[in-house]
């Protein structure tokens, strides 16, 4: 059982700890500073946090002592001459650090960072320095990448295959899913089966909008994505995607957040909203949906969640699962956990700032 949570909010990072059967806020860090993402590198025990200072730019912080002390490390920088997709007229700078992801277990000093305006960075010295992965940045399809909700495209998902560290899947929002099988030397867009209702050609290979992409740890060829235009799953490492949005009238469809079961490749959870035009919970009732059969059907899990007058959204990194436990935080500053796979929930705290990310340690 995992006993701590990292919660990135618009007003700082919270570390929550399990206290008997409940959770309490153990400590607060970077108070009043937006914390976009925070994670625990299980290979090294290091905590990482991405900060988005309104004034001073995006910063990276790490802690080697469980959050007792933090050290700022230089944020990744785009090389001179780099310009932003899709028109390549604006000089590229690291405007947002979306995600921090460890490399494989066999490469303990490797770390990946996903940024706006669309650059993937890699470190091979434990985060002391980062280099842009030029092979992806210069992909021929990059003129079809663009910003959605932000000015420029962002890499919001990075999945390293636990069986083969050279097999990496990234999600670019907006751009699509890209996969390398040679450690980043070459990349392939894998978006067949997705559709984008905002594009002239909805089935274009590039220009899709995966809000988040996750691989099932028990079978990393099984990929899931909560896309701008529905929920999709692939059984072959992204070569072919299948729309698994709820076709029976349930709420699972539009949304941002996604979690997958580490033990069962057929189990995942989403946090639905009405649609891109109505970014509110369906019928203003907070719900998490779970599939136990690879997306053939979805259950609405509502027990313990408020069912009226809710305006909470769950952002793309705002939901996480670990064994039978789940946790999510919302844009309205509410925070919920479940210890029975989502069958029932309890509120841990209200009145937080906007929750950007939730990760079990």
């Amino acid at each position: 059982m995992h006993n701590k949570l990292l919660v990135g909010t618009r007003k700082g990072l919270l570390i929550m700890a399990r206290d008997g059967g409940d959770w309490r806020i153990e400590s607060a860090h970077f108070e009043a500073i937006p914390v976009v993402y925070a994670m625990h590198d299980r290979r090294t025990g290091t905590l990482w946090a991405s900060l988005d200072h309104g004034h001073w730019g995006g910063k990276l912080q790490r802690s080697h002592d469980g959050g007792a002390s933090w050290q700022e490390v230089a944020a990744p920088k785009y090389p001179e001459g780099a310009t932003c997709p899709p028109d390549f007229t604006t000089p590229a700078t690291t405007s947002y650090i979306w995600i921090i992801e460890p490399g494989g277990a066999d490469e303990p000093d490797r770390l990946y960072i996903g940024t706006e305006p669309g650059g993937l960075f890699v470190s091979d010295d434990g985060g002391d320095s980062f280099q842009l992965v030029e092979s992806l940045w210069n992909d021929p399809g990059n003129s079809q990448w663009f910003g959605g909700g932000r000015d420029y495209p962002g890499i919001c998902a990075i999945q390293v295959d636990p069986r083969d560290s050279r097999h990496i899947t990234v999600g670019i929002s907006v751009g699509g899913v890209y996969v390398t099988e040679d450690g980043g030397e070459s990349w392939q867009a894998r978006n067949r089966g997705l559709y984008a209702d905002y594009l002239p050609d909805p089935y274009a290979e590039v220009g899709q909008d995966p809000h988040i992409v996750l691989a099932s740890p028990s079978n990393p060829y099984v990929l899931w994505q909560q896309n701008h235009c529905g929920i999709f799953r692939s059984g072959d490492a992204g070569r072919q995607w299948h729309d698994i949005s709820d076709k029976q009238g349930g709420p699972a469809g539009f949304g941002f957040a996604l979690a997958v079961d580490a033990r069962d490749e057929n189990v995942a959870w989403v946090a639905p909203a009405v649609s891109a035009e109505y970014r509110v919970p369906v019928e203003r009732a907070l719900v998490i949906c779970r599939t136990d059969d690879g997306g053939q059907s979805w259950q609405s899990l509502r027990k313990g969640l408020p069912q009226q007058h809710c305006y909470d959204l769950v952002f793309r990194h705002g939901l996480d699962a670990q064994d039978d436990s789940l946790a999510f935080g919302t844009t309205a500053g509410n925070f919920y956990v479940s210890d029975d796979r989502g069958d029932s929930w309890r509120c841990i705290v209200n009145n937080l700032a906007v929750v950007y990310s939730v990760r079990f340690m």
Binding site: G54, H55, T93
Partner: protein, 90 residues
């Protein structure tokens, strides 16, 4: 020597930050000099292209910085240069 002042808000990240005198011909020179003294401070004021961050302002004397992309504004001796954060929402 230009007389450089900082918004007190930067002291949260650089606790020993203080007003200082810098030998400089341009504002870019000033940023390079203060970054030498307080390592990493430059990244708080300018981005990796050397452009002033969007929500940071610099006064050269009583004038707002003119060249926000190159920081080439010249700095006369004894000019007071103030680095401030722009006002923004909550």
């Amino acid at each position: 020597m230009a007389q450089v002042k900082f918004t007190p808000n930067l002291r949260r990240f650089f606790p020993d930050l203080c007003d200082c005198a810098v030998e400089a011909a341009t504002v870019a020179d000033i940023i390079a000099a203060v970054d030498q003294r307080w390592r990493g401070l430059g990244d708080y004021i300018i981005d990796e292209r050397g452009c002033l961050r969007k929500h940071v302002n610099i006064f050269v004397g009583d004038q707002l910085l003119h060249d926000k992309t190159g920081l080439s504004d010249s700095v006369a001796a004894d000019t007071r240069v103030i680095i401030v954060q722009a006002l923004s929402g909550g």
